[in-house]
Symmetry: C2
Subunit: 245 residues, 2 copies
């Protein structure tokens, strides 16, 4: 159609500071972007990959958002995480060579596909790339630890507040508003992710609304007072220096 078909370029991608190219030299990024395959956008609910499938590629979110989940022994979906632009999906497959969770699109979304064989090869040639991949893996572990503590030690209210703050932070880092955004996932998915029932998510969002911390209308969230949200999450660090952050 267009005379210049959209070409993937990490150099011009505004996500590159968050994504795999972070810290690479220009020449190294050029080598990386050669191996990236273009995939057609995925529609809502469309599967990117499913658990136990052979992992031939990793995927970076280019636009939209994704959800990873597994089906438990009772046949219920268990949401493991959400992915926003710039984030790498499929890292859990590097262990066995097969995906250990499924991923689907929460909205119309696109990805950069990184064929694993070529990526591995490139990592051998570009130590910086290997290093960045290792850092991303390590970061995921740290993030998981935080999530584990949230799941185990926090009340429903703190879980919901933390979830909103996490989205706020991630959207902010992407250059979007950190106080107004749409939830691309259902209450059910959030509930699953936070280890509570979807009714509890509804109720806690209502509570936060009544306390004038946020406004919620369907999937639209507005954070009225970020510092209030933070004080819910960290009751002990409250108030003193929460003017801006």
């Amino acid at each position: 159609m267009t005379p210049n078909p959209p070409k993937t370029s990490c150099l011009t991608c505004r996500l590159s500071d968050l994504c795999l190219p972070f810290g690479l030299q220009i020449g190294e990024i050029e080598a990386l972007e050669i191996i990236i395959k273009i995939k057609r956008p995925l529609q809502i609910n469309e599967l990117l990959y499913s658990k136990d499938e052979l992992c031939k590629s990793l995927y970076a979110v280019k636009s939209g958002s994704f959800r990873s989940y597994i089906i438990n022994s009772e046949g219920m979906e268990q949401t493991i995480g959400f992915y926003l632009p710039g984030e790498l999906m499929g890292l859990d497959a590097l262990f066995q060579g097969r995906f250990s969770s499924s991923v689907d699109a929460l909205e119309t979304s696109s990805v950069c596909e990184l064929p694993l064989a070529r990526l591995t090869e490139l990592c051998l040639q570009i130590p910086n790339l290997q290093h960045q991949l290792t850092r991303i893996l390590s970061k995921e572990i740290t993030t998981n630890h935080e999530q584990m503590i949230l799941l185990g030690q926090s009340s429903a209210k703190v879980k919901v507040a933390t979830f909103l703050l996490m989205l706020s932070k991630r959207y902010g880092a992407l250059g979007y508003s950190n106080t107004a955004f749409n939830l691309s996932m259902r209450r059910h998915d959030i509930a699953n992710y936070l280890g509570v029932s979807h009714e509890t998510i509804s109720r806690q969002l209502t509570v936060l609304g009544k306390e004038n911390v946020i406004t919620v209308k369907q999937r639209t969230v507005n954070i009225i007072e970020l510092s209030l949200l933070k004080s819910i999450v960290e009751p002990c660090l409250t108030d003193s220096h929460n003017h801006n952050d």
Copy 2:
């Protein structure tokens, strides 16, 4: 003292199939073990490293066991994980270069210290080593995901049963008994790790005892019927091969 001071050798270490050397050629293992530093054993409660400390080395458990934890904003310890022989500690530090949790010894224990600078260097020369490190990182992510689901979706009883099964499996893989072992951690640590109160751990262990699934006397655990324990964890896969229930 001894004419031949104890020399670290991955080649003769019975853990090497579980540890970093897994999958390496003999020559590669020899290169790896040269960089390993010997540390004196740690006593119970002794700190291996603490959160925010600069990470100069990774550590593999040689004997004994360790606990990783952080202190939350209320000043409470939050246990993140337990480490048994052959397992690698400090992987969460590869992201920022600083440890994101603290680790202490649960009993008299020893470690193999892997200086990070030399390890990184070696990874460049030995692709297999890099690959194995990546696999271990990825495995940790998968394990964390399972833990997240356990924390979020399971009852106290399932949590405790899963915890015992997990220990059983890990001890079994080490060549120890998978039905009789000592808990090196306090109830409090288990509780923290599973996101319940320590009283709940006590109660659930008592329940499992009364149901003749296990016997517990202080830190000593005996699993009477592994299949019973499994049927608690996976209620839907139950029955077919569980004769008594």
